[in-house]
């Protein structure tokens, strides 16, 4: 994952609420076993029917509850591969938000009015250190979990970081706390 410091450029707008991951990445493309090359399938039905158009700008502004429904990470792989580096929305579905942070797609939560102002400005500069979205018309601060910010800022691998805490996991298991569940290998 590439470290994120500044994301700047033109803004694409998807002015809809509750856009689900079935629309972002339809099911037929989930049969692939690769992690790359999903950009060509993004919003497959909506793009082909001409229902929406989105330029592959660095920043996407969307409506509330973006990424609802299915947990498919393919939706995030598609958005990133298409060209987006950040998505700004009033709210995200929980699983989608988490998936974004694992793939260097910066999720930014701004209230709806500020989302509209960023979209209207047409260009923006997101500063992760300062936690601000800057346009010619204003500066919009946003909140992000310190730990998630640290990982995105430094492009860190979650698994490697947790494995560094392996002793804690060993201790937890040694204390017998993990022994209460079923043993699937002996079913």
């Amino acid at each position: 994952m590439e470290p994120i410091e500044i994301i700047e450029g033109h803004v694409a707008l998807l002015d809809r609420h509750d856009v689900d991951t079935d629309q972002i990445m339809p099911k037929q493309f989930l049969k692939r076993t690769e992690k790359t090359g999903y950009g060509q399938f993004l919003f497959y039905d909506w793009f082909r029917s001409g229902e929406i158009e989105l330029e592959p700008h660095p920043i996407l502004v969307a409506g509330r509850n973006f990424g609802s429904g299915s947990s498919r990470e393919h939706a995030v792989w598609g958005l990133k591969d298409y060209g987006f580096d950040a998505v700004i929305a009033p709210s995200f579905s929980d699983i989608f938000y988490s998936n974004c942070t694992k793939n260097g797609l910066l999720p930014v939560i701004l209230d709806e009015e500020h989302c509209r102002e960023v979209a209207a400005a047409g260009e923006a500069r997101i500063d992760l250190d300062d936690q601000t979205v800057n346009t010619k018309d204003g500066v919009f601060p946003f909140e992000i979990d310190e730990d998630i910010k640290h990982r995105l800022r430094n492009g860190l691998d979650d698994v490697a970081m947790t494995l560094e805490r392996g002793e804690r996991i060993d201790d937890y298991e040694a204390a017998g706390k993990a022994d209460s569940g079923p043993v699937t290998t002996s079913l």
Binding site: S70, E73, S180, P182
Partner: protein, 461 residues
Amino acid sequence: MAKNLFEKIWGAHEVDRDLIYIDLHLVHEVTSPQAFDGLRLADRAVRRPDKSLATADHNVPTDGTPAARLIADELSRKQVEALERNCEEFGIPLYSLGSDRRGIVHVIGPELGVTQPGMTIVCGDSHTSTHGAFGALAFGIGTSEVEHVLATQCLVQRKPKTMRINYSDELGFGVTAKDLILATIGRLGVGGMQGHAVEYAGAAIRALSMENRMTICNMTIEGGGRAGMIAPDEKTFDYIRGRPGAPPDFEAALERWRALPTEDGAAFDTEIEVDAAAISPMVTWGTTPGMVVQVTDQVPDPTAMDSPADREAAERALAYMDLRPGTPMTEIPLDRIFIGSCTNSRISDLREAASIVDGRRISASLRGMVVPGSQQVKADAEEEGLDDVFRSAGFEWRESGCSACLGMNPDILQPGERCASTSNRNFEGRQGAGGRTHLVSPKMAAAAAVEGRFVDIREWS
């Protein structure tokens, strides 16, 4: 201080700051191949194969294809074969095509008794919330997190907020758990539970069977909830007792489980009260599960909606669904009926649907399909003769799988087809590009099959 169910489970699984231990990791073919690739690239092992369990469900044909190598669709075949290779290489037990224990991942967990109270359960599938019906903390994760759990048996996770929804009184005649959760999502909205672990409580919940409780927890994600949970009770324990994965020392487990329910006076970030007796049979009219009305209602009029955003969304949904405002829901003609999915494909769901169609014929104008949630459910249903009831009525009786819930296998709607479905999502194209989905309970789907349109099950006989 008094603790709630969620807080007890969370507290017992904190390994380190923002790191929780996972007791059971369920794996399927669609969201795991990239995770296994990640392990191989970094030369990492699966930390606890004995706490992992895999099955093939999303891609599998329901026509009786007996082995992965015989799946006709090339990409589906490759994905299921990849799962078989990955599970072999990493030592994870797998129930693939040909196994009597195969089925939808959220059906076989409880069925095998590996879903238990007090556990943390994850799966690369948003409907993992189903398992919360047993008083477990269960939620869906993405593929990166699947890789993380495989490698570490832990998950980096911020503590969600808590919500309790109290359902007073009891559900009326003909009204089911499916109607209860659809009505709840209709009221709170599809983002209404966002960021929360939701506990369903109250007399109406206590009165429900385990399978009905699973239906409710299953659809928590459609309300945006992180996890849905129901406190374990004697029904929970009776359900698990004697199953293959049940704890060898059951009495000791009971002692632990009985200490789990939310204590009197425990606090929640949000509490909501719902009168269960006021809930009617529900039918969705739009393209999110929150776009739902009572079966006695009409297709809503977007111009009567307050917010411009709701109005626009409703107009788009009605255009996609090819519905006109003011049309009574009971006058909408149907082309397809789907009884199945992790929401409503368990034996009690099939019994309910069968009781409606027993001795009747489904409308000649439509095609009906019944897809059991697992091979075990199929065997149980056949033992009871339910397959004969459905076949005699004109339904197709299929092998188990996710089937027409998500259209990743040959069971799909054709463009423009309208389906009454017992599944969980009515998103555009969910059941097949251009397909139109109305979510309903198994009883409502069965009655709709007979009439060729929706009926109020309370007055229909």
